[in-house]
C-alpha cells in the first residue's frame, strides 16, 4: 500500500476554518476552528451527526456556500494556493481541473436530459481540450475502470436508464476523468442499498490506491468510514473534536463524544438481551447557542469545572496517535465507563413465551396493475400487466414478539406492511389478525380492528401534521376510537408523553419546535394512543442520527415491555434489525427468502442472499474480517421477475449446484432449525457448510 504516512506537502490544508451563514437577525457560525490536511493517496473521513457542519466544510473548499454563507476566518490551501477569497474564473478552472465532487444523490448530479456520454466527454473537451474522439476513448476506459458493464453502450444511455449504483459509478468516473488532485465525496453511498454501497465502497478504496488522489470522504456512518478511510476526523457542533488514524480511532477513541458514538451503534450480531445501547444524553446545541467552554461539556459524563469555562484545543494526546479536543483525554478510561443514572436503560426479561400467534399470513400476494399508454391500453383492450410487489409471503407473528423484515429497496417490505395495515388491499392469499380477516383495505375493516393495528413512520419531518400541536395529534386517535372519555384525553396524552420521556410541557408545542428524535417519539406516542396490539414500524430510526437512534430503539423496547405490544419492524440496517428483533424475515424482489429466529439468521446456514447482505454491512471496526461477497448486476424488474427462484440471476452460490438449471424451478422451503426456514434448492448440508460471514470478532 502506498503512502500510509504523510509524505511531501499536503494536497489540501485547512487551518482554523470558520464558516458563517447570514440568517434573519444576525449570523450563525456553522463551522468553527476546523483544521486538517490531506496528502496524496490518503483519504480523510469526516464523520458526525446531521448539522455538525461536515458538508459546510466541503462546500467552503469549493466555495459553494450559497448566497448567505462565507468563510469568516482561517485559510484553505490547495496545493499551496490559498482558496479563500478566490472567485470567478480562476476558481471555476480549479474546480474543474483539480478538485472533483461526488454527491449523495447521483440522480441529481447527472443531467437527466443529456446522454451520459455527452456529460462525461464534456469534462475532457472543456477542461483538457481533447478532441471528441479521444475524449470518447478515455471516457470508455474510465467507465471500464469503475467496472461498468458494457461501457460503450452506457455512453449512449440517459441517466434514468441505468440503476442507482451504476449512476454513482458514472459520477465517480466523471470525477476521476481529469485525474484530480482532490476528490470530495459527500455521503456518496447514503442513498444506495447496502449491497450496492459495498461495491461502491470497494471501488472508492481501490481507486484511492491506484490513482493516488486525496479523498475527503464525508459520512454519518462510522462503518462506512472504517471501510474506506485511513484517517478520520470526528465533528461535533461545528468543531472537529477528534482526529486520528482509522485504526487508532476505532480501537482507542479518546474524546468522550467519539466514545459515546461507539456505544450508540449496535454491533452486527449483538441483540437486545445480551447488549445495551447507550444513547448520549441531551442534544446537540443549536449553532447560535453553543455553550461556553467545551461545546460537548453539557452532554459529557466527565465534565468538570474547567470544561465550563475553558475552551479545549485540538491537541495530540500523549501515548496514542490521536488528537482530541478534550482537557482530560489522558485521564478518561473508556473501558471504566459506567452509564450515568439519568439515561433510561430498558430491562429485557425474556417474557412468558406462550408463543400464541397474533398474526398469521399465508401466501399473501399484492399485485399492482400497470397501465400502458398505447391506445389499446386506454380502452382496456390489452392484456393487463402486473407488478408483483409481494408474492406468496407467509409468516406468523407470536404475541408480544418482534418480527424484523429486511431487504433492499424494492423488495416489497413496505408494500407488505401497507397491505397488512390496509392502505392497500391484497390480491390473493390469507391474512388473519387476532382471528379477523385483514386481506381487505381499511375501508372494509371494523373500527375496533383498525384500532388494534397502528403504524410508526420513517420520516420524522413528515410524520406529524405541522398545523397541529403535539397534544392534539396524540389525542386524536383517543377521540376517534373512544378509548378514553373526552374529559380525560388531556391527562392520558400527558401520561403517554411522559412514557415517551417528553414532559407535559410538550403538549402545546408545534412540530416545528421539536427535533427529529422528539418528533419520532411523538409519532410513537400517537401510534400507541389507541392501545393497539400490533404496531408496524416502517424504518422508524433510519432517518435519525445514531445517538438519537439508540434512544428511540430503547424506547420501543421499553414500550414493548410495558404494553406487551407486538411489533413488526422494517429496516434496511441489518445490525439494528438483529439487535431489535426476535424473528427476522429476509425479502428479495417480493418473495421471502429466509425466515427464522434472529440469532439463526445471522449465522450459518444462510440463504445465499442473506449471506451476501451480511457481507455487505459496513462494520464500524476496521479490523473486523468480513467475507467479501458482491452481487452482480441489478435487481430485476418486478414486472417481469425471473422464473423459479427470483434470486437465481444474481446468486453467487448457484454454480455450486450440480444442475444450476434447477434454479429456474420453484425452490422448496427447507427446515433448517426450529422455526427457521430457507427458500433454496441447496440442501441444508451445503448451506451449513458456508463459513460465517464475519470471522469471530474480538
Amino acid at each position: 500500500m502506498k503512502s500510509e504516512e504523510s509524505v511531501g506537502p499536503p494536497v489540501l490544508k485547512v487551518e482554523n476554518l470558520a464558516v458563517a451563514y447570514k440568517v434573519r437577525g444576525g449570523e450563525v457560525e456553522a463551522v468553527q476552528d476546523v483544521s486538517f490536511e490531506i496528502h496524496r493517496g490518503q483519504s480523510l473521513g469526516i464523520v458526525g451527526e446531521s448539522g455538525c457542519g461536515k458538508s459546510t466544510v466541503a462546500w467552503s473548499i469549493v466555495n459553494f456556500l450559497g448566497a448567505n454563507g462565507y468563510v469568516k476566518r482561517g485559510s484553505i490551501k490547495f496545493q499551496g494556493q490559498e482558496l479563500v477569497g478566490k472567485t470567478g474564473e480562476a476558481l471555476r478552472r480549479l474546480r474543474g481541473d483539480q478538485i472533483a465532487m461526488v454527491y449523495q444523490d447521483p440522480m441529481q448530479a447527472l443531467n437527466p436530459s443529456m446522454r451520459l456520454g455527452d456529460q462525461l466527454r464534456e469534462v475532457l473537451t472543456v477542461h483538457r481540450g481533447l478532441s471528441k474522439k479521444e475524449a470518447e476513448r478515455r471516457c470508455i476506459e474510465m467507465l471500464e475502470r469503475v467496472y461498468m458493464p458494457d461501457a460503450a453502450a452506457v455512453m449512449k444511455r440517459y441517466p434514468h436508464q441505468i440503476s442507482g449504483g451504476q449512476q454513482q459509478r458514472v459520477v465517480i468516473a466523471m470525477a476521476l476523468l481529469n485525474n484530480p488532485a482532490l476528490v470530495i465525496m459527500d455521503e456518496p453511498t447514503t442513498a444506495l442499498d447496502v449491497t450496492v454501497e459495498a461495491a461502491v465502497l470497494d471501488l472508492v478504496a481501490e481507486l484511492r490506491r491506484d490513482f493516488d488522489t486525496a479523498i475527503m470522504f464525508i459520512s454519518h456512518n462510522l462503518g462506512v468510514v472504517a471501510r474506506v478511510c485511513n484517517h478520520v476526523g470526528v465533528m461535533y457542533a461545528g468543531e472537529m473534536v477528534e482526529r486520528a488514524r482509522v485504526g487508532d480511532l476505532y480501537a482507542n477513541p479518546q474524546h468522550p463524544y467519539t466514545q459515546g458514538l461507539m456505544r450508540c451503534v449496535p454491533k452486527l450480531g449483538s441483540d437486545k438481551v445480551s447488549s445495551i445501547l447507550y444513547p448520549i444524553r441531551g442534544r446537540v446545541p443549536p449553532p447560535d447557542n453553543r455553550p461556553a467552554g467545551c461545546i460537548y461539556g453539557p452532554r459529557c459524563d466527565y465534565a468538570q469545572d474547567r470544561c465550563q469555562h475553558e475552551h479545549p484545543a485540538l491537541r495530540p494526546i500523549s501515548g496514542v496517535g490521536n488528537w482530541a479536543r478534550c482537557h482530560f483525554a489522558e485521564e478518561i478510561d473508556a473501558a471504566a465507563w459506567t452509564p450515568p443514572e439519568e439515561i433510561p436503560i430498558p430491562t429485557i426479561d425474556q417474557p412468558q413465551s406462550d408463543n400464541q400467534p397474533i398474526m398469521q399470513i399465508n401466501e399473501l400476494s399484492k399485485y399492482y396493475e400497470v397501465r400502458g399508454d398505447s391506445l389499446r391500453d386506454v380502452f382496456g383492450l390489452s392484456q393487463p400487466r402486473y407488478v408483483k410487489a409481494v408474492e406468496r409471503v407467509s409468516f406468523t407473528v407470536p404475541k408480544g414478539k418482534t418480527l424484523g423484515i429486511v431487504g433492499e429497496s424494492g423488495c416489497g417490505k413496505s408494500t407488505l406492511i401497507k397491505t397488512i395495515i390496509g392502505l392497500e388491499d391484497s390480491s390473493s392469499g390469507e391474512a388473519q389478525f387476532m382471528g379477523f380477516d385483514i386481506t381487505g383495505a381499511i375501508q372494509q375493516r371494523d373500527t375496533q380492528l383498525i384500532r388494534e393495528l397502528q403504524m410508526v413512520f420513517q420520516n420524522p419531518d413528515s410524520t406529524m401534521n405541522p398545523s397541529y400541536t403535539v397534544g392534539q395529534q396524540i389525542g386524536r386517535p383517543m377521540e376517534r376510537f373512544n378509548t378514553v372519555p373526552k374529559n380525560q384525553i388531556r391527562s392520558e396524552v400527558i401520561k403517554l408523553l411522559e412514557a415517551m420521556r417528553l414532559g407535559s410541557n410538550y403538549y402545546d408545542r408545534l412540530p416545528r419546535q421539536l427535533s427529529g428524535g422528539e418528533k419520532q417519539r411523538v409519532g410513537i406516542a400517537r401510534a400507541l394512543a389507541s392501545q393497539p396490539d400490533l404496531v408496524l414500524c416502517d424504518e422508524p430510526v433510519s432517518a435519525l442520527d445514531v445517538s438519537v437512534q439508540a434512544a428511540i430503539l430503547n424506547l420501543l423496547l421499553e414500550v414493548q415491555q410495558q404494553f406487551g405490544t407486538t411489533l413488526i419492524f422494517i429496516a434496511h440496517d441489518l445490525s439494528v434489525v438483529r439487535f431489535f428483533s426476535d424473528y427476522v424475515a429476509v425479502m428479495y424482489l417480493g418473495q421471502m427468502m429466509e425466515i427464522g429466529p434472529a440469532e439463526a439468521i445471522y449465522a450459518p446456514p444462510y440463504h445465499p442472499y442473506t449471506e451476501a447482505l451480511l457481507s455487505a454491512v459496513p462494520i464500524p471496526d476496521p479490523k473486523a474480517r468480513q467475507k467479501r461477497i458482491r452481487l452482480e448486476g441489478a435487481v430485476p424488474s418486478a414486472m417481469n421477475p425471473p422464473t423459479g427462484c427470483r434470486f437465481n440471476t444474481r446468486c453467487p452460490r448457484r454454480h455450486l449446484l450440480p444442475d444450476p438449471d434447477i434454479c429456474l424451478t420453484e425452490p422448496p422451503w427447507r427446515d433448517v432449525g426450529p422455526d427457521h426456514q430457507i427458500f433454496c434448492h441447496h440442501t441444508v448440508e451445503t448451506l451449513s457448510s458456508f463459513d460465517p460471514v464475519i470471522a469471530e470478532t474480538v
Binding site: I421, L423, I442, Q454, N459, T463, P466, R480, Q513, G523
Partner: protein
C-alpha cells in the same frame, strides 16, 4: 407575579408574540411593506368615506366637467359630481360593503361588511378548494372529471363568462360576486390540487388513513391547514384580479349598479366624455392601478420572504 416557567427556552410564544413575528416578516421585505402601505391607504380612504367625504358623492353640486381646482381637487365629472368624493366612496363597494338586493331574506336591502372583491375571492377560494381537494386527494375519476370540467371553463374567455352570468341573472352586487367566484374557482382549484398532490404523500396523511379517518376529515382537517400559506398569497393576487374584473364590468356598463360610485363605472363615464374633459379618466384609473399593484407587491414580497427562510 406569575409562576416562573421552568422551561429553559421560551418555547411558548403567546399569540400576540406570534402575530408580532408574522408582522415582522412583512416589514423585512421592502416590496411587501410598500405594497401593504398602498393597500392600507385605500382601506383608510374607504373607512373615512363611510363617515365623511369632501362633498356628497351622488349629487350634482357643481358645474360639469371641471378641471382640478382648489374646490374640487380632482375636478368634477359629466354630471357635476365631485370626483374626489366619488373616488373615496368607490372604495366601499370594492373593499368594504356589499349591498344585498331588496328581496334578499332577512337582510334585504341592507349592506353587509366586506366588499364585492373580497366576497368574490372568498367564494372562489371556497369553491376552488373543495374542487381542488377532491380532485387532488381522491384522484382517479374524480380528478379526471373535475379537472376536465374546470379546463372547459377556463377555455372560455372570462369576459364571455361574465356576460353569460350577468345576462342570466341580471345586475347586482351578488351577481358580480358570483361572476368572480365562477371565473376564479378553476385557478384556485388547480393550485389546491397541485398542493394537495404534494401534501397527500406525507406520512401524517398515512397516519390519518391508518386511523380510518373519513375522506372529508383528511381533506379539510389534515390537508387544508397545511396549504393555507400559498393559498393566502394567491388570494391576495386574486383580490387584485377581482378589482380589475369589477373595473372591467363597470367599463362595459354591466358592473355594480348605480348610483353608488365604483371605479370601473367612473372610468367608463369619463371615457365617454374624454373629448370634453381629459382629467376625469385619470383618478379612477390610477386608483384601480395602485390598489392592484399594491396587492401584487404585497403578495410577491410575502411569498418571497416566506420562501427565503423556509428551513
Amino acid at each position: 407575579m406569575a409562576a416562573a416557567t421552568s422551561s429553559p427556552r421560551t418555547e411558548q410564544l403567546s399569540r400576540l408574540q406570534r402575530w408580532g413575528k408574522t408582522v415582522r416578516i412583512i416589514f423585512e421585505s421592502r416590496v411587501a411593506t410598500v405594497g401593504l402601505m398602498m393597500v392600507l391607504f385605500w382601506f383608510l380612504l374607504g373607512f373615512i368615506s363611510l363617515v365623511w367625504t369632501p362633498y356628497r358623492p351622488n349629487f350634482s353640486d357643481f358645474e360639469q366637467n371641471l378641471r382640478p381646482n382648489s374646490t374640487n381637487w380632482l375636478g368634477t365629472d359629466h354630471l357635476g359630481r365631485d370626483i374626489l368624493s366619488r373616488l373615496m366612496a368607490g372604495t366601499q363597494v370594492i373593499l368594504l360593503k356589499t349591498r344585498l338586493p331588496g328581496d334578499f331574506p332577512i337582510l334585504g336591502g341592507k349592506a353587509i361588511p366586506g366588499g364585492v372583491a373580497l366576497w368574490g375571492v372568498f367564494g372562489s377560494l371556497t369553491l376552488g378548494s373543495v374542487l381542488g381537494l377532491n380532485a387532488g386527494y381522491r384522484s382517479g375519476w374524480w380528478d379526471q372529471i373535475i379537472m376536465q370540467l374546470l379546463d372547459a371553463l377556463i377555455a372560455f374567455p372570462q369576459i364571455v363568462l361574465y356576460l353569460v352570468v350577468i345576462a342570466a341573472l341580471g345586475q347586482g352586487d351578488l351577481v358580480v360576486i358570483l361572476a368572480i367566484t365562477v371565473t376564479g374557482a378553476p385557478g384556485v382549484a388547480r393550485l389546491v390540487r397541485s398542493l394537495t398532490l404534494d401534501i397527500k404523500t406525507r406520512d401524517y396523511i398515512r397516519a390519518a388513513e391508518t386511523r380510518g379517518e373519513s375522506v372529508w376529515f383528511i381533506m379539510f382537517r389534515e390537508i387544508l391547514p397545511n396549504i393555507r400559506g400559498p393559498l393566502l398569497v394567491d388570494s391576495m393576487l386574486r383580490v387584485g384580479y377581482a378589482i380589475f374584473a369589477i373595473g372591467t364590468l363597470g367599463f362595459l356598463g354591466i358592473g355594480l349598479p348605480p348610483p353608488d360610485p365604483d371605479w370601473g363605472n367612473m372610468v367608463n363615464d369619463a371615457r365617454r366624455n374624454i373629448f370634453f374633459n381629459q382629467w376625469a379618466v385619470i383618478p379612477p384609473s390610477l386608483a384601480i392601478a395602485t390598489l392592484v399593484i399594491g396587492l401584487n407587491l404585497f403578495a410577491d414580497g410575502l411569498r418571497e420572504e416566506i420562501n427565503r427562510y423556509q428551513k
